[in-house]
Point group: C2
Chain length 157, copies 2
DNA sequence: GACGTTACTGAGACTCAGTATCATCTGGAG
DNA sequence: CTCCAGATGATACTGAGTCTCAGTAACGTC
């Protein structure tokens, strides 16, 4: 939860893109988010802060960040799309379906599994995507507490 | 990999749903597809054969089949959704990005990887999705042949 | 076979994410 | 300061998927 430096902005500049007001604002908003968010969330954020940034620009910026691998687009179980800030290396995501936070996860033997599948099926696998959904420790703890104290079963969305 | 009997229809009936004309037609169309397909593909099919089935019904039927786990919805790398006919057990998909065919794949050690991730992150993982994309043997062979000549002795089907 | 219940249906309006177009603006190199 | 490609925002558009609702048909019962 450290207030991140403008790391996204540097990636953008390093890649030769212009540093514009719209982009800077969006990057700041995105960097402030711990959880995954949808394009609509981001748009709402923009409106709330009275920034005048067009919808198109929001999508363009997200696309840009996805290209730079600074943000990844993920497919939630419901079928919606969301974005998460992440490290620009190959990895996967573990998303807490209760609080929405996500964390990057490394290989953990997956590479071997994929290789094995490739061998057995005789496919040349050039892309794989693993997405995991569950509940993090904090959320489980919170749920347990609520149950015990008999707080009127408030489940969150 | 067998010339399917109306197995989908049986699932529908077994689950207590009605066997209607619209459903039967759709099921036949779906069972005739080896590759993954989008809702739009299916709709085009319907139109081509002059069947009068509403868009809503197409989506409703797909949803039904997804519920029955007879069909799975998958997220293609481009972000579109597609559906594939599949076994009603937990498994994953390996999709050939060249010919579009997909095949179900089993565990191959993935379960262990997921368990390991759960242990290390202290998440309670209740859903995971692995999708693999690549090129199947046949397509690789075909590509190689085309490169070498213009047409040669074809194996494959 | 006729009947009644109710699940299912098609048409079409609607929503909402994402894209395309285009006239205007602006960052930053020179 | 000048210049212009790259960026922007307004707006129209697209296309997937949903909702509604009046009408239809499947199927158990008599």
């Amino acid at each position: 939860m450290a207030p991140e430096p403008p790391v996204l902005q540097r990636s953008i500049e390093a890649a030769g893109y212009r540093s514009t007001t719209a982009r800077r604002s969006l990057l700041r908003l995105i960097e402030g988010r711990a959880e995954h968010f949808t394009a609509a969330d981001l748009e709402a954020d923009v409106r709330r802060r009275r920034l005048s940034i067009g919808r198109a620009t929001i999508f363009r910026t997200l696309e840009l960040l996805v290209d730079l691998r600074a943000v990844e687009r993920l497919d939630l179980p419901g079928g919606d799309h969301a974005y998460v800030l992440c490290e620009p290396s190959h990895h996967h995501h573990l998303v807490c379906s209760s609080c929405g936070r996500s964390r990057d996860i490394e290989d953990h033997g997956l590479r071997a599994v994929v290789a094995e599948i490739a061998r057995q099926t005789d496919f040349e696998i050039d892309e794989h995507r693993l997405e995991l959904f569950g509940r993090c420790r904090a959320c489980r703890a919170r749920a347990a507490t609520h149950e015990r104290t008999g707080a009127a079963a408030g489940d969150v969305a």
